[in-house]
Amino acid sequence: MKTLLNVVVLLLASTLGLALGWSMLDLPVAAVRLPEQVTAQLDMSGVAHPVTAVLLNFRGYDTLLEIAVLLAALLGMLALPRHVAGRENRPVPASTMLQTLARLLVPLMVLVAGYVLWAGAYQPGGAFQAGAVLAGAGVLLHLAGLLPAWVTLGQTLRAGLAVGLLVFIAVGAAVMAQGTLLQYPPDWAGALILAIEANLTLSIGLILAGLYLVLTNSGERA
């Protein structure tokens, strides 16, 4: 019975795979040439890298909703009932070697995050990559026993989690006077994008680190 199910699923999956592959080989070239359109409008976008221009300007809606989804996921995790440990919530101290390494690496990671954020204007990089580096620094600090898991979130932390989304919405609403939501005036576009991205980096770093630091706490039994 179980093997029959396996065989049926594997057969259906391989049929799906063949159909997908076949349709890709048959696919005509897209009628709309998006890369040319992006290149043509790049001067108006305020940044020099096409992916950043698409993310923060041409398709800013996507990024706005993306940071909202990130925040919603963290809020969903916080809404689950958690086993707040009765014992002291400090993580197990790691070896001195790891702690020293973490102390040395984390400032460098913050520096790298700042560079990646700035580099996003003209080469691969940007808020999400920089936020991921920041989150990695947070996880490293926790694993080295230097940063406790999140049990209750203070006011400052909550503000940091929300600031990216709030600044993004504020900028979107402010430029609405010009016409449409998130359509920046070309002269201001670069500065506005940098302001949004800097705040996004902070929020993304905190949220991604929080996804780990909340979950790692919820497993500790009282």
């Binding site: 019975m1 179980k2 199910l5 396996n6 699923v9 594997l10 999956a13 391989s14 799906l16 795979g17 997908l20 592959g21 890709m24 080989l25 696919l27 070239v29 998006l34 890369p35 992006v38 096409p50 992916v51 221009a53 698409v54 993310l55 041409f58 398709r59 996507d62 990024t63 993306e66 989804v69 990130l70 919603a72 996921a73 963290l74 969903g76 995790m77 689950l80 009932p81 086993h83 999400f128 993304i204 949220i207 991604l208 996804l211 780990y212 909340v214 979950l215 919820s218 497993g219």
Partner: protein, 106 residues
């Protein structure tokens, strides 16, 4: 066959592996991993098909970047829910799967 098409076809294969894993693996952690494999396959298809013409298309690349971050958030939430199920039931399986397993064992 261009390199871009190889990426897209690899992505399709990954997607199919993910679908099969999602249906066949009863353990929730494996289901979540299979779901991530599916997602990675979709990202490869988007990026691969986007550069068939030879030049990379920034629009699918930006969408994939968005997708990766959303996938991380969804995975973390799924893990939190799975952990909750583990605390409540002592097992990382969906109740229906457990029922199926009992029936099949008899």
């Amino acid at each position: 066959m261009s390199a871009a098409l190889v990426y897209a076809l690899t992505g399709a294969a990954l997607f199919v592996f993910g679908v099969a894993g999602l249906m066949l693996q009863p353990h929730l952690l494996r289901k979540i991993l299979a779901f991530n494999v599916m997602g990675s396959g979709v990202f490869l298809v988007l990026v691969g098909l986007g550069q068939r013409a030879g030049i990379p298309d920034p629009v699918p690349q930006a969408m994939v970047l968005t997708g990766i971050v959303v996938a991380i958030a969804a995975t973390a939430l799924a893990l939190a829910l799975a952990r909750q199920l583990l605390d409540l039931q002592g097992e990382m399986r969906l109740p229906e799967e457990e029922l199926d397993k009992d029936r099949l064992d008899v």
